[in-house]
């Protein structure tokens, strides 16, 4: 960011390429609407450009970046609620939606992913907002718990508790949906 401030546009490109996937992943899962996520992701980067002249390295760039993304997502949800716009469930599926049974043999990994995606999105959407944002920031944006605490303004132990509750609730939801957890699965 300091290099960009000094007039080096290539430094901005490095920032975008480094964090683009995480920002988009966080927003897409947060909003459940990939199109809206694209719009907001672009807005996040425009805010980075706008803030560059006044940028001071008071916090890590990533912490600040995801604070911006989170605030935009929260504002967007509030605005849609205010305008009565239904939250798209294009990828989410209704919580009780019946899908192919988990034991159906998937033709390949990509196909399996496309079958699982709507149910995972529905499970994530069913989490309470404060648990969902912690889970998304940790799992999809790879933000450490201490930084999530700064982003959300919550104490770090609270953030970790929310993560544990989120994982437990996700497990239950996925089980209800017939998504048998993969036996080979172990935390990284």
């Amino acid at each position: 960011m300091q290099r960009f401030r000094r007039g080096d546009a290539s430094a901005f490109e490095v920032l975008v390429r480094r964090h683009r996937g995480a920002v988009h992943g966080f927003l897409a899962r947060c909003l459940g609407d990939r199109g809206r996520a694209e719009d907001l992701a672009q807005e996040v980067w425009l805010r980075v450009i706008a803030a560059a002249p006044r940028w001071e390295a008071k916090a890590r760039f990533r912490t600040w970046l995801f604070s911006v993304a989170r605030n935009l997502a929260v504002d967007d949800s509030r605005r849609r609620a205010f305008r009565g716009t239904p939250v798209p469930l294009e990828a989410a599926g209704a919580p009780g939606e019946a899908g192919p049974a988990a034991e159906d043999p998937p033709p390949d990994a990509a196909a399996e992913g496309s079958l699982l995606r709507p149910r995972l999105q529905a499970a994530i959407a069913s989490l309470p907002p404060e648990q969902r944002e912690v889970f998304l920031l940790r799992e999809y944006a790879d933000v450490p718990f201490a930084e999530i605490a700064s982003i959300t303004g919550s104490p770090e132990p609270t953030v970790k508790s929310r993560m544990r509750y989120a994982l437990e609730q996700l497990r239950r939801r996925l089980e209800e949906m017939g998504l048998a957890p993969h036996p080979a699965g172990r935390p990284r």
Binding site: F4, G7, G25, P53, P144, K160, R171, H182, A184
Partner: protein, 329 residues
């Protein structure tokens, strides 16, 4: 390590956030504690299920426009740094010259210190060489003023480079509009930084007044202070135009956003109104082509030449009737 401590650290362990010693301690506890072993297993199974779904690959469209906006911003910031550096050098040179002229300059500096500035009478009292030096000092002061003005303009531009939300059904067009809006927002700032036209002094022109209205409206949008008051979809050529009137807290329409989808590439037009409800700026695709209008509706600034005749005569001048009066160009 107690059971509770170890249990609290299971998620840290799962995400590799523990130092090796702490991780080993937690692992040892997991080996000895059935409850933690079960929870550890549940965490693993849940994350495994989550990770079976491949991550989305973010689309790359829109990146070029974003990088172009960043390039412009980087150039502005570089120019701003250069200006500040150059000003510092000039002020230092002026100060050195003032010191070099000797006793008279001491008297000059003493009077300046006493009065808090350099009085005009002091300049006329001086010999021609000294007058030139004093004039240099005054020039330095003027440039410092312009430097401050430039800094204000930069802040203004930065503030208003925040995305202009064009509520439209065409996401791609709106996306382009946001980037173009951010780029266009900087353009009036560059104009503010340019020296004023000869004979006009520092007087504000209609273009800068229109730019102020644009800055104000963009600020309201960025600050979420505008709400959709009315929306309408109407036929436009072979397609439709979707219009939204955005009003401030007092119910005054400050922005009318129009999205036209008629078979050609989607176009968005933003109409920005002053507090009195008069059209002051029209931006096509968020500002890639823009026209500022004075209070009488005359064109005073065109940022990029518009190939076809600009339909300003067709643009509704009054916010009150904008949704009804809009004619498809």
């Amino acid at each position: 390590m107690t059971h509770e401590e170890a249990r609290e650290l299971l998620v840290d362990l799962a995400y590799g956030e523990l130092a090796e010693a702490a991780a080993a301690e937690v692992r040892a506890h997991i080996g000895a504690c059935e409850a933690c072993r079960e929870e550890w297993s549940r965490i693993g199974l849940t994350l495994s299920a989550v990770r079976r779904v491949p991550r989305d690959v973010p689309p790359e469209h829109g990146e070029e426009a974003l990088f172009a906006a960043a390039q412009e911003a980087a150039e502005r910031m570089a120019r701003s740094r250069l200006r500040r550096r150059s000003l510092t050098v000039r002020l230092a040179a002026t100060a050195a010259a003032a010191l070099a002229v000797g006793g008279l300059s001491f008297r000059l500096l003493a009077r300046r210190e006493a009065s808090g500035g350099l009085p005009q009478a002091a300049v006329s009292d001086l010999a021609p060489a000294d007058r030139a030096t004093a004039s240099g000092a005054r020039t330095g002061e003027t440039e410092r003023g312009e430097g401050q003005k430039a800094a204000v303009s930069e802040t203004w531009a930065s503030k208003n480079a925040a995305a202009v939300r064009v509520p439209s059904p065409g996401r791609e067009a709106a996306s382009e509009a946001r980037v173009a809006g951010a780029r266009a927002a900087a353009a009036p700032a560059a104009q503010d930084q340019a020296p004023p036209p000869a004979g006009k002094g520092a007087a504000r022109g209609p273009a800068s007044e229109a730019a102020e209205v644009a800055a104000e409206v963009d600020g309201l949008v960025a600050g979420r202070a505008l709400r959709i008051a009315k929306a309408r979809t109407r036929p436009c050529g072979d397609g439709v135009a979707h219009l939204e009137a955005w009003a401030d807290a007092d119910g005054r329409t400050r922005l009318v956003a129009v999205e036209i989808r008629d078979g050609a590439s989607p176009r968005s037009i933003e109409l920005l109104y002053d507090p009195a409800g008069m059209l002051r700026l029209a931006r096509v695709r968020g500002g890639a082509r823009a026209v500022s209008l004075d209070a009488e509706g005359r064109r005073v600034l065109e940022e990029v030449p518009v190939p076809a005749p600009w339909p300003e005569a067709e643009l509704p001048r009054r916010a009150q009737t904008a949704l009804d009066d809009f004619s498809c160009p």
